[in-house]
Structure formats: C-alpha cells, structure tokens
C-alpha cells in the first residue's frame, strides 16, 4: 500500500506546485493579455473602417459580433460595418476582419490570424519596407511611418457584391491599383496563390453571411 501512496503523493504535490506557479503567472499577465487583445481589435477596426468612429456592436442570431461605425462626410452621416469571417487556408484557418460601407464596397480588410507557410502564404501579413538590411546597419534607413501589409491594402475599394478575382501580376505596387480596382481583382502573392484565394474566399464568405443578416433584419 505504501508503494502506491508515496508516488501518488509526490506526483500530486508536483502537479499542485506546477499549477500554482502557472496560476500565479497567469494572474500577473492576465490584464496585459486582455489589454493586448483589445488593442489588436481596435487596431484592426481602425484599418477596416478608416475614419469611422465605432458606435456600437451587435450580435447576429448565432452570436457572432459585428461592429457598426459612422462618419460624417459632406454633412451626411454614413454607416460602415465590420465583421469577422473564417475559412480554411493552405494550412490552418485564416481569420480576417472585413469592413464595408452600406453599398457593400470594401473599405478595408485585416487578417487577424493565419498560420500559413512562412516566406510564402505568411507574406499576406508582410509589410513591404523599402529599407534594405544594409540601410538598417549603416543607419541610413528612412522612417516610413506606419505602413499596412500590401496584400491586404489592395482590397480597399473593391466591390463586395461582385466576385473578387485573383490575378497573378506579381507583388502589388501602388501603380497597379487603379487597373486592379477596375477589374475588381487582387494580385496574388507570388508562390502562394492558394493563400491568396483563401483570403478572397474568406471575404466572400463573410460578405454573404453579412448579407443574410441584413435580409433577415429587413423582414
């Protein structure tokens, strides 16, 4: 009997101490993590609803949250809406936040979570800095201010009611913008067409879910 009790007691004591340690660490960092989460949400909302002030959140039937924002332009108040959508990517789930105005024009998107291949699909959240490594070491790097990931930037201004096309024009540059917007298309990340399509799918899915909400609320 003693052979069972002693090991069990030792194991229980070790596990107890471990849990106690973790509970302490968790309690210390809890506020900081919650703060970071709310900051991340705020930043994402600022990207997908640029210039809008968030006036409230609402819940759909299946408990999904969406945000309502408004801004004043030429004396008129216009509304913007933001919602979160998820769809499978190349590896794992892609979660993105989408902002649209009442005419279903995409105001901006922000990828909240992705686990795509580093160097390929993960470039969907890459910020293209013009500074090279040598500039940084020699101290000649230019401060480029706040920049947005180029892949996500190209969604702003597209029409959410039509299908967003994926074309292979190489990495996006501001010069391509007007051409792509007229085609209602985005340029895929080189070597990561699947991820690019997955992000587009995620947006289509989000918009169609959102359209369902509007239809239901109008009835």
């Amino acid at each position: 009997m003693k052979d069972i009790i002693k090991p069990a007691a030792v194991l229980a004591a070790v596990t107890f101490c471990a849990s106690l340690l973790l509970a302490t660490v968790f309690a210390v960092t809890k506020e900081r993590i919650a703060f970071l989460d709310s900051e991340a949400e705020k930043n994402a909302l600022a990207i997908v609803l640029p210039g809008y002030s968030i006036t409230g959140t609402a819940k759909t039937k299946d408990n999904k949250i969406y945000w309502v924002g408004e801004k004043t332009e030429n004396g008129e108040t216009i509304n913007g809406f933001a919602f979160i959508s998820e769809s499978p990517g190349y590896s794992g789930t892609i979660r993105c936040m989408i902002g649209v105005d009442s005419n279903m024009n995409i105001l901006g998107i922000s990828i909240l979570k992705q686990t795509e291949t580093p160097g390929l699909g993960a470039r969907s959240v890459e910020i293209a800095s013009k500074n090279t490594f040598w500039d940084v070491i020699t101290g000649s790097a230019v401060d480029e201010g706040i920049q947005f990931p180029w892949f996500q930037q190209q969604f702003a201004g597209l029409n959410g009611n039509k299908t967003v096309q994926v074309v292979k024009n190489g990495d996006w540059t501001p010069e391509m913008a007007s051409d792509l917007v007229s085609q209602n298309a985005v340029s895929a990340i080189t070597g990561a067409t699947i991820t690019s399509k997955a992000v587009v799918d995620c947006i289509h899915k989000g918009i169609s879910e959102y359209n369902d909400i509007i239809k239901n609320s109008n009835k």
Partner: protein, 199 residues
C-alpha cells in the same frame, strides 16, 4: 455535405499537410525508426492508435474541464500528462491482452510520448477551432487518424528508400544522417505536388 468536410480533413492531414514531410513534426522517430520496413510499420500503426486515442481524450478534457473552469492555460501540461498516461495504459493493456502484438509494437510505445507529432495533433485540434465546432469530436478523430496515417505513409516511404540505400555506394561523409535528410527533403518536395488539391 459533412462527409465532404471529413474527407477534406482526412486528405489534407495525410497528403497536403503531412505532419512529417510538410509540417516537420515527429522528425526524431521518422529518422530513428525508418531503417527497416518492419519496424517502420510497427511504429506507424502504434502512432495511428495513440494519436486517434489522444485526440479523443484531449477533446473531452479541453471541452469539459479546461474551458468550463477557464483554465485553458493549463493546456500544455494537461495534454502531455494525458498522452504520457495513454501511452503507459496502452502499453499495459496490449501486454495483457495480446502478447504477440506487444512484441511487435511494445518497444515503440515508450518512444511515442516524446513524439512531438502526437502532442502536435492535440494542440492543433484546439488551434484549428475543432473543439468548439459542431461535429467537433468527429473532426478531431478524423484529424488524429489522418495525422497517424500520414506519419505511417512517410515512415514507409522513407524506410523503403533507406533499405535500398544500404547497397548503394554513397560518398563516405554523406552516409547516415546527411543522406537521410536529403532524401526526406526530396520526399517533402514530392509531397508539395499535393498542394492546392481540394474537393
């Protein structure tokens, strides 16, 4: 409709996101036990069994213990202890029930505890949000089983090649580990061909 989803998960874990060859999980047993086809098969089947069982049990632990008490930060510690106990239990059970199976699988079982693919599949089940979804239990089972089959497939392919390599004339400095890594690289390159397949 749901069937299609399960087939997608199964196909994806076996071929597209093969745990060994495209996610580089479980490399230690992959290189350690792939010298002979027989032992590779034994290890592979033991891993399929443990992975499926671990997926199911960690599903229940996460959904009915960790989430309700909001102690999800204990995930790693809970999962690894569960996996270690499953491996022990399976070892004892097989030993009692079928000594012949124990002789075939026995020596591989203790190695599975530190196979990162097993803890990997449990953590990925949580990360991909399967736990809270409808049909979550079935999804985790399919993902666990698929990951195991993918592991077996990679191990069989590798051991088949390595058995033939024994008679090949390899430059002295490349023998052993270096050539195995290069072969694994080529296999992994071949598996890239599955990328983008969908149903």
């Amino acid at each position: 409709m749901e069937i299609k989803l399960f087939i997608t998960i199964l196909f994806s874990t076996i071929f597209i996101n093969n745990y060994v060859l495209s996610q580089t999980l479980g490399i230690c047993p992959f290189l350690g036990v792939s010298k002979k086809t027989d032992s590779a098969a034994g290890m592979g089947f033991a891993v399929i069994f443990v992975m499926t069982l671990a997926s199911v049990i960690t599903y229940f632990i996460y959904k009915y213990i960790l989430i309700p008490f909001s102690i999800t930060y204990l995930r790693t510690i809970a999962f690894i202890l569960v996996i270690a106990s499953i491996v022990q239990l399976v070892e004892m059970a097989i030993n009692k029930l079928s000594p012949s199976l124990y002789r075939a699988l026995g020596i591989f079982l203790p190695l599975i505890t530190t196979n990162c693919a097993v803890l990997g599949v449990a953590v990925l089940n949580v990360d991909s949000g399967f736990i809270t979804k409808e049909f979550g239990l079935l999804m985790t089972i399919v993902q666990g089983f698929g990951a195991g089959v993918g592991f077996l497939l990679a191990l069989m392919l590798m051991s088949g090649i390595r058995e033939r390599l024994e008679t090949a004339d390899i430059p002295f400095n490349l023998r052993g580990m270096p050539i195995s890594f290069i072969i694994a690289g080529l296999l992994s390159l071949a598996f890239l061909g599955f990328a983008g397949m969908s149903f």
